[in-house]
């Protein structure tokens, strides 16, 4: 069965002043899969993610998300599209003036007509999903880095979006928390059919959750395909990354 394309990027070009960051980037992400965007520092991962989120104007090429061409969207349509997307930012990006619960409740109270008691139930449940129910009344400034990230994930999935973007979700998490976060991502994918785009370097995470790999190297796609194929890719940058991965994997098996 052929899966539906949820993201389609064609020949994307991006530059800051005279510095070309992305050139000729094309790839697709499919419904119900976890697509991992990989690449070294400065390979253009963040720029690509910000383009996917519609935060940068498109200079060249085409991005289509959930069947909508990003460049052609009117403001109303873009807001509608944002309702269907959850984003977990690297720093969490929770609003500092609101409590954790108010942060998670924000999209629910702004975009739905649910009664307040039901919203607080949903918020509490979503915080429970990421093991953060105890932080309900706390402010972001009172949380540790890992807790911030989990609370931010609760906000990203508040509206059960069909598409979730995560920018380095594993950074700052201990291995146990990371494993439970990965498990949660798998649950979101398997039980809700969520499509997930991850930008991460965490090797165990990639092994646990990735279906599809998009490897960026010097602003170009060096590899696109299933995880298993990526591990045997001949491209020097990809094989260098995955040789490290294989070793770690082997070490894990030996242990």
């Amino acid at each position: 069965m052929k899966k539906e394309k949820i993201i389609e990027v064609n020949d994307l070009y991006a530059a800051f002043d005279s510095l070309t960051v992305l050139s000729g980037v094309s790839f697709s992400a499919y419904q119900g899969e976890v697509t991992v965007i990989l690449g070294g520092s400065g390979s253009g991962k963040t720029t690509l993610l910000k383009h996917l989120l519609g935060l940068y104007p498109i200079m060249g090429g085409r991005i289509s998300i959930l069947g909508k061409d990003l460049a052609q969207l009117r403001e109303v349509e873009q807001v509608e599209l944002y309702h269907k997307m959850g984003v977990l930012y690297q720093s969490g990006a929770l609003l500092g003036s609101l409590t954790v619960a108010e942060n998670v409740a924000l999209p629910l109270s702004q975009h739905t007509k649910l009664p307040p008691e039901l919203i607080s139930d949903i918020v509490y449940m979503k915080l429970g999903l990421v093991n953060m129910a105890h932080a309900y009344h706390l402010y972001p400034s009172q949380l540790s880095g890992g807790m911030l990230k989990r609370a931010a994930l609760a906000r990203a999935i508040a509206m059960d979006p069909p598409l979730l973007f995560c920018d380095e979700p594993g950074a700052g998490l201990d291995p146990v928390s990371l494993e439970s976060l990965d498990q949660l991502i798998l649950n979101l994918k398997n039980q809700l059919g969520m499509s997930i785009v991850l930008v991460t370097h965490e090797v165990p995470s990639i092994l646990r959750v990735a279906n599809r790999i998009v490897f960026l190297d010097q602003g170009q796609v060096a590899f696109e395909g299933p995880l298993k194929e990526a591990m045997h890719s001949k491209h020097p940058a990809v094989s260098a990354f995955f040789s490290v991965l294989k070793n770690e994997h082997v070490r894990e098996l030996v242990r």
């Binding site: 500092g96 003036s97 449940m125």
Partner: protein, 379 residues
């Protein structure tokens, strides 16, 4: 919400995506129980149960086509609110797809209570007073003593200072403020002379406009206007800069590099402000008297020569000396208040805005208070 009666059952249509079929004590939602429909569901179902005075209800989930987290929570919500009225709500005929979601979206226990301890009136008053003294008065004095210590200790030790920082800050706080200080002082001097010219003319006391302008500008308006402008301009900038540095952990970084943030960040600003403030006040005085002289010439026919001669008679060294002391007090108050509130920032971006506002309001208030105290002392 449309209601349609059939032979045995009642059909409620909630929104476009969900219908409720009620047969005896069995309620069957049909369609999608999602973010759009969950709100109506939680409102309508308890109403149906109460309207029919049911004690035991079954919600049959067999015909639910799609359910999301809001739908699951709506089911739990109805169950819980009904349990409080001793009405049991049982979920039956749950398809596997719905059951999976219900297992995923589950809450273990009740919402945690917000921890607030409310004391009595005396207790709360005591707490407020204690907080005011311990964190504001004591905190301000502590910061002031620390900064004064370092500013004295480093005064003749140029190696301890960041190279070029005092000059840099002097440009930001002092030199860049020259145009606005000169312009406003000129306008105020002009207006003082203009306003009084009518009164003086009617008494034939034209020449006293010089006394009025010189004394009011030299001893009061010049220093005060300058201090208020600098408090608004640089006090806010100092508070915002230090608050942002604290929020982004730059101050922590300085500390862990073995640098004292007060000494490294605040002391150069204090030097710069104390150094440039006397010059700004002198410029403000000159501009104010020029403005007054222009108005006197235009409206009272006092020539610049007469104005200058009279000015020489009434100017006192004491006024200059007072202005110098005032400038140092105001400069210290502005820098210390800005830094104090900058360091007290909490909760990210919004906190920076809040402390900046408070810093400006408090430093202007303190400047005016200090002005009245010094005015009485040097009267």
């Amino acid at each position: 919400m449309a209601k349609k009666k059939t032979d045995q059952d009642v059909l409620f249509s909630l929104g476009e995506q969900l219908k409720l079929r009620v047969e005896g004590r069995v309620i069957s939602p049909e369609g999608r129980l999602n973010f759009e429909e969950a709100g109506n569901f939680t409102l309508l179902v308890p109403r149906i149960i109460r309207g029919r005075k049911l004690r035991h209800v079954q919600i049959s989930l067999a015909d639910i086509k799609q359910i999301d987290s809001a739908g699951v929570m709506a089911l739990y919500h109805v169950q819980r609110t009904m349990a409080r009225r001793r009405i049991s709500v049982e979920l039956v005929n749950t398809p596997v797809s719905v059951e999976e979601k219900m297992l995923l979206f589950t809450t273990k226990d009740q919402l945690p209570e917000r921890l607030t301890v409310q004391g009595g009136f005396l207790e709360r008053t005591g707490e407020v007073v204690h907080h005011f003294f311990s964190s504001y008065i004591f905190g301000f004095l502590l910061l002031a003593s620390n900064i004064f210590y370092w500013s004295f200790a480093d005064l003749f030790r140029s190696s301890a200072r960041r190279k070029g920082e005092v000059v840099n800050q002097s440009v930001l706080i002092g030199v860049n403020a020259v145009p606005i200080v000169v312009f406003l002082s000129f306008v105020i001097g002009f207006v003082i002379a203009l306003q009084s010219s009518g009164q003086l003319k009617s008494f034939g006391a034209n020449i006293f406009v010089v006394d009025l302008v010189v004394i009011s500008i030299m001893s009061q308006m010049g220093p005060l206007i300058t201090a208020i402008l600098i408090a608004g301009r640089s006090g806010s900038a100092i508070a915002a800069e230090i608050a942002t540095m604290k929020v982004t952990a730059e101050l922590d970084a300085l500390k862990t590099m073995g640098l004292n943030p007060n000494r490294f960040v605040i002391v150069p600003k204090l030097y710069a402000c104390m150094l440039t403030m006397p010059f700004l006040i002198v410029l403000a005085n000159v501009a104010g008297m020029t403005g007054g002289g222009l108005a006197a010439n235009l409206y009272l026919d006092i020539t610049p020569e007469i104005f200058m001669n009279r000015m020489g008679d009434i100017m006192r060294n004491k006024d200059l000396f007072t202005a110098l002391i005032k400038s140092q007090v105001y400069a210290a108050l502005i820098v210390l208040t800005g830094s104090f509130y900058g360091l007290r920032v909490e909760r990210g971006a919004e906190g920076v805005g809040r402390v900046t506002t408070v810093a400006v309001v408090v430093s202007i208030t303190l400047v005016i208070l200090a002005d009245s105290i010094l005015g009485i002392v040097f009267y």
